[in-house]
């Protein structure tokens, strides 16, 4: 009797204190969830209209991620997920993180990478994604650590980044390229210093077209005189692209946004987007440079016909 009681007690205790064995998700379940997430992402961007910001789309994407994917990303059950599904979870997390800059999604991604590492099956691609994510998150030392830890992987070199005295990452800031010192310098921006801030990218042909049109028009040149040109926040920080652009475009010197979320009123990071400011606050914005240009809207924003 005592023996049976002991067995019974043991069973009771183990059921209370032992690890909760979560059910292993069906393989096709994660694949379907990822497909659904991707559909929603594509739909969100397709619905972003020319005057609306893509900000709401990005909020939606985070919402979809937490609804469809996050539940699979628990450390307690990730060990039981198949290698192929784990890779799908990794892809879902990195894609959603890049679109949203949501740090909780980044945390999920890092859980996936750690598990892939633990199993010894992390691919070069996974490390490339990890570097990209860390650079986008401005965690440069972490990115450098990945590059150093995997010398045989084809990973981008991480440029030097120095921080100015008194730098506040929670305020608008940029990474400006110092060609002579061969490094990026993180520095804050006082929005009150600018009437116009232009989001652009050297590799975006809309931006390139806008710059050509602006350079050929005195009125547009006067409107954009003294503007701050900035690249959106992403996981690429290739000095050669910015250096080359700045060399060839001394009137449109570009810097890189440090953390997009810290720029109040800047809800659209499509390139090019023109933000007109009053007393350091966004007054209005003009989005895009389609064929035919957007000169009229730009001039009109400054009251010029």
């Amino acid at each position: 009797m005592k023996f049976l009681a002991l067995i019974f007690a043991f069973l009771c205790i183990s059921s209370l204190c032992g690890p909760v064995q979560a059910s292993t998700p069906n393989g096709s379940e994660i694949n379907s969830a990822y497909t659904l997430l991707r559909q929603k992402i594509d739909q969100s961007f397709a619905n972003a209209s020319s005057d609306a910001s893509s900000g709401p789309a990005r909020v939606q994407i985070a919402d979809y991620y937490f609804r469809f994917i996050h539940k699979y990303q628990q450390e307690s059950n990730i060990k039981s997920i198949s290698a192929s599904d784990l890779d799908l979870l990794r892809r879902a997390a990195i894609e959603a993180y890049v679109d949203t800059n949501n740090r909780k999604i980044l945390d999920d991604f890092l859980i996936d990478i750690r598990e892939l590492d633990r199993r010894g099956i992390a691919s070069e691609r996974a490390y490339q994604d990890e570097v990209y994510a860390f650079v986008q998150a401005r965690m440069f030392e972490n990115a450098q650590g990945i590059v150093a830890a995997h010398p045989k992987a084809v990973l981008p070199p991480i440029p030097k980044v120095s921080i100015t005295n008194g730098f506040n990452p929670d305020a608008p800031a940029i990474l400006s390229w110092n060609k002579d010192a061969n490094k990026f310098v993180a520095q804050n921006v006082n929005l009150k210093d600018y009437k116009l801030i232009i989001v652009g990218h050297p590799l975006c042909h809309f931006t390139q077209r806008a710059v050509v049109d602006i350079s050929e028009d005195d009125k547009l040149m006067s409107v954009t005189q003294g503007a701050l040109w900035i690249l959106p926040q992403d996981g690429n920080l290739d000095p050669s692209i910015i250096s080359d652009w700045n060399t060839h475009h001394p009137n449109q010197i570009m810097s890189v946004v440090y953390l997009a979320a810290k720029w109040p009123g800047f809800n659209n990071w499509g390139t090019p987007t023109f933000y007109f400011l009053k007393d350091g606050k966004v007054d209005r914005s003009i989005v895009g440079w389609p064929s035919g240009g957007n000169a009229k809207a730009l001039l009109s924003a400054r009251g010029i016909r």
Binding site: L203, C204, G288
Partner: protein, 194 residues
């Protein structure tokens, strides 16, 4: 020889040396300018050639629009390169496609990279005339010499990438939006058709 003659000879010699020096300087400058012009001319020539090749690719492509895509998928040939993708992978790839007035404007390569080799990706993108974007796909699987050839990037041409990375017409990690903008999007490519 009289002092005068010596002076005259020296003067002439000096004059020739000045002319010679300035000619040398001019020729050096000309070489330098020519080098710069050749470099810029070389880039322009590459750009033009690249544009012509893309136009040819587009002309030969069976899918130039959403309507073409619907038609093609409805009658997908047995040997279509799209059939090398898994069902879900193919669905995600096709759903990511965005067409502009001049063909495929952006697409996600996430599933292409995960499931296909570089030459298989090339064949898929040939359906849309954007096969030259294959070389932008970081981490594409290279196994055969054909895979390696497909991944040979324009910036492997000596002098081109160092001259101007912005000469490459496609924008990796960005997608095309219909309103004349590009937007950051991981594992997407915004093509020159945007």
């Amino acid at each position: 020889m009289t002092k005068l003659k010596v002076k005259a000879l020296l003067a002439v010699g000096f004059a020739f040396s000045v002319v010679g020096a300035s000619s040398y300087a001019a020729s050096t400058q000309t070489v330098s300018n020519t080098t710069q012009q050749s470099s810029s001319g070389f880039q322009q020539e590459l750009l033009s050639r690249n544009k012509l090749e893309r136009e040819r690719d587009y002309a030969a492509a069976p899918i130039k629009s959403q309507a073409d895509l619907i038609w093609y998928v409805g009658r997908m040939p047995a040997n279509s390169p799209l059939k090398q993708l898994s069902g879900q992978g193919r669905a995600r790839f096709l759903n990511s496609l965005m067409f502009g007035d001049h063909g495929l404007a952006s697409f996600s390569y996430a599933d292409l990279r995960a499931e296909l080799t570089a030459s298989q990706i090339y064949r898929v993108l040939s359906l849309f005339g954007v096969q030259r974007s294959t070389s932008l796909i970081k981490g594409a699987l290279v196994i055969t010499p054909e895979d390696k050839a497909v991944m040979a990037v324009p910036d492997n041409v000596p002098g081109l990438k160092s001259a101007s990375p912005s000469l490459l017409p496609d924008h990796e990690s960005y997608r095309c939006l219909s309103r004349g903008t590009c937007e950051s999007a991981y594992t997407y490519i915004c093509t020159s058709n945007c």
